[in-house]
């Protein structure tokens, strides 16, 4: 493996390791928000931010997906 390939592989490994500022508890909470029991609440909260912010605009909510 060339030096360039080693550097790229190191970069790839760090990218996949996630943010070192996230503790194990944070990682578990991130999992719950994005793929676990808090997914519905997370989506509702994102939609609520969009609905309250005129800059972000309309046309986005999870309810739209079934139309």
């Amino acid at each position: 493996m060339s030096i360039g390939e080693e550097l790229l592989e190191d970069r790839r490994r760090r990218r996949r390791a996630g943010d070192p500022r996230f503790t194990e508890a944070d990682r578990e909470f991130a999992r719950r928000l994005t793929t676990g029991d808090l997914v519905v609440e997370f989506q509702a909260a994102l939609d609520a931010v969009s609905a309250a912010d005129p800059l972000l605009g309309d046309g986005h909510s999870s309810a739209d997906t079934d139309v």
């Binding site: 990218r15 943010d19 991130a30 909260a45 994102l46 800059l55 605009g57 739209d64």
Partner: protein, 140 residues
């Protein structure tokens, strides 16, 4: 670069790289980072603010200032003109949708979402018309 949404950004920050995600540098559109930041700095009564209180202070810093080696935030300036054209074309879009679609066009004609529910009706329709592939990685 691969354009991602808020779900994938949080997943990647948490070190859970989905195997289906292309092996490329992920970037989050500014408007989607803005949604997370609004929640982080918004009223404690807001739904997302309450949810994000579940993170430690250091992880909250990770949301505020994403680790550059994990995912980047897209510079919106080169995308603005195209985003405005898309907004005019589709009529019912704001910055979130227009920037996301413009980013998808600019970076490989593809968008990666962490949830089908986060795609939305307008993005689904416009992406199809614009030839942008929408990949959903996560809850369907």
């Amino acid at each position: 670069m691969i354009v991602i949404d808020e779900y994938l950004a949080v997943r990647l920050a948490g070190g859970a790289w989905p195997p289906e995600l292309p092996d490329d540098e992920p970037v989050l559109p500014t408007s989607r980072h803005w949604r997370l930041l609004q929640a982080l700095h918004g009223s404690r009564r807001g739904k997302l603010s309450q949810l994000l209180d579940g993170f430690s202070p250091s992880a909250r810093d990770g949301v505020r200032y994403p680790h550059a080696e994990v995912f980047g935030i897209l510079d919106p300036r080169p995308l603005l003109d195209e985003a405005a054209m898309i907004a005019a074309r589709y009529g019912e879009t704001g910055w979130l949708i227009a920037e996301t679609l413009a980013a998808g066009l600019a970076f490989g004609n593809r968008l990666c979402f962490g949830s089908q529910a986060n795609v939305g009706r307008v993005v689904s329709r416009a992406a199809d018309e614009l030839g942008i592939a929408v990949q959903v990685i996560g809850p369907h």
